[in-house]
Symmetry: C2
Subunit: 366 residues, 2 copies
């Protein structure tokens, strides 16, 4: 088993361990803390708790599976659990689950006694390549996704690619949406790898997945280290996300998987870039469309309407974009790609363009 360790150079720095068997390091990593409590997705814990070694018997709270975990109510239950378990300031929380688990568990660790240590063990491709690295935590509000949260860096992240073997194609596809994002953002060689390995990635090939996860984590680690609090370059990681959050909100959280919405959002961002004359690599949209197609991911809103069966009215989508927390003083700010690795941040989108993109007349207008 080979595990690669990637440093996130913040203060203090921490390591993301990527590869088959990475989870076995958990017990060793929590040594030195006074206590450890595990917050685990209720579906995931039975599948993977045995990989935790000595920590299999640590106090463990089952969190609701998926998006329903991301509420202040669940956060309150988890905080009560940490208190009942006797965690103190020298203790550590281990999260085991997908992005919703690390988002919620990270928030809970950041709040408990005004912040204790957390280690994430992401079990979905989406969480391994994105959510569990970088310290963003969140719950959803009625008004929108991730509207409440903190920045709280983990002490370590364990991306055990063996656990990805239990994911079905739909779950892998969701994570692959974020892989495509990292590829467009310029993770070295990743776009080429995805073009080459689409089939292997969708089939859950361990080696192909480990390579993609490592490439994504390396890229994200460098971005986060340069801008922990998202005041500058880190905003690039929101590529496709303003569109995606509007899609998820309009469909109802949990209806359309995040990574699937992100895939559509990336395609929309490329189209916006072209429409605003920002695009420098004219071949990029077709290349990304090709990759999305080979991964079974949508290349826009119409495709999403077809595959999801959701109406997703354009007017509702545009309204939802204005609620995004990246919106500032009323204007929707977008991250738009000029070429692989070259992004334009904070582009104020004209309303007409948003209307047009969300109606998705692109396909018919071409």
């Amino acid at each position: 088993m080979s595990v690669t360790s990637i440093e996130v150079a913040l203060a203090p720095p921490y390591r993301v361990h990527v590869g088959a068997g990475a989870l076995e390091r958990a017990a060793e990593l929590v040594r030195g803390f006074s206590r450890c409590a595990v917050l685990a997705d209720e579906r995931v814990a039975p599948l993977h708790a045995h990989r935790l070694g000595a920590l299999e018997s640590a106090p463990r709270l089952a969190l609701p599976a998926g998006e329903p975990a991301k509420t202040l109510d669940v956060a309150g239950q988890a905080l009560d659990f940490l208190a009942a378990t006797g965690l103190d300031r020298d203790s550590v929380v281990l999260t085991l689950g997908g992005g919703t688990t690390s988002d919620l568990g990270g928030l809970v660790a950041s709040l408990y006694m005004r912040g204790i240590a957390v280690i994430h063990a992401p079990t979905t491709l989406l969480a391994q390549v994105d959510a569990a690295v970088g310290g963003k935590t969140a719950v959803n509000l009625g008004a929108g996704k991730n509207l409440a949260g903190t920045f709280h860096q983990p002490r370590a992240v364990l991306c055990d690619t063996e656990v990805l073997g239990t994911l079905d194609e739909a779950e892998l596809r969701c994570g692959l949406g974020e892989v495509v994002k990292a590829a467009v953002l310029g993770a070295p060689g990743l776009l080429e790898q995805v073009e080459r390995d689409a089939g292997r990635l969708l089939a859950g090939d361990g080696e192909a997945l480990a390579a993609a996860v490592a490439a994504c984590v390396r890229h994200k680690a460098s971005v986060v280290a340069s801008d922990e609090r998202e005041s500058g370059p880190r905003r690039s990681l929101n590529l496709g996300h303003t569109f995606a959050h509007a899609i998820e909100r309009t469909a109802g959280y949990g209806t359309i998987p995040h990574g699937v919405a992100v895939a559509a959002g990336i395609a929309l961002a490329l189209e916006a870039s072209r429409r605003l004359d920002l695009l420098e690599d004219a071949d990029l949209p077709a290349r990304v469309d090709g990759v999305l197609a080979s991964l079974g991911l949508p290349d826009g809103v119409d495709e999403l309407r077809r595959t999801s069966g959701q109406a997703l009215p354009a007017a509702d989508l545009v309204d939802a974009m204005h609620l995004d927390k990246k919106a500032s003083r009323g204007a929707v700010a977008l991250v738009l790609p000029r070429a692989v690795g070259r992004l334009e941040l904070g582009v104020r989108a004209p309303e007409r363009l948003l209307d047009w993109l969300m109606a998705d007349r692109r396909r018919t207008a071409k």
Copy 2:
């Protein structure tokens, strides 16, 4: 009207404006932010909202008065309110109320979109001298007070001493408990002022209160600037608080006012210091007892039992101390005074001493 501005030298630095009429600066301070929403104690807003000038008509949410505001439920309601009001990342929250309002409002501002600006306008003596300065935010959990929260520095604090004119003696007394703490911690000249001005302070004399508030804020600003996250010297500010939290918890939150419990806690800390041979200024306990008596504050648990009518069983109090978040690896860590301005931090208290202090056989044993 004279207002003193005291800088808290953090990054970024901010100012605490102390004096009659300080609240009138609010409208000017929020200029430059995209929007402002006010979170106000439901009892306090009708009394003081007119002092906010142009902000009197800003969107305002009434929070439950006192300790009931400090729950995750109320935080969720306030977060929903900020979203409904259309606050974005460039907006500001103004809190108007006592320490429970700044604790809750500060937490809400720190969570909304992962942190937006907050300005505190504390309206109780307790909040002006302590709670609203220094960036600690919190809600209570079933297991204990302030067990969940964040560090989130305000952009400014407005300690308008005119608003203290609406407080009754019991409310002033509560704040005076924290004033005595600052005096023991070494705020220059404060112990002498309190000895001299006890009657004026209790009577709500504006000049005496403004001097005491300024002295406390100056002291707290210097401590917080040296240790924002409470890894070292800031722990001195917990003088009396491990005892106080145990008392409040055992009595039921809101039953015994925080500052009153802190007063008893200071007396207990001095007694513990004497018992552990840490005390260097042998006259200090009597001096502090004298000040507490002249302010009508308790000098121990027995006095508190008499005045509050609460049983406060010693065993329950000791149990509650072990739940304090300053406890680490099972041991209760105390802040003990050696002399005015000379503190011993992280003293592990022997169980027998805790039993003895909480039984309060001090008075009879002497």
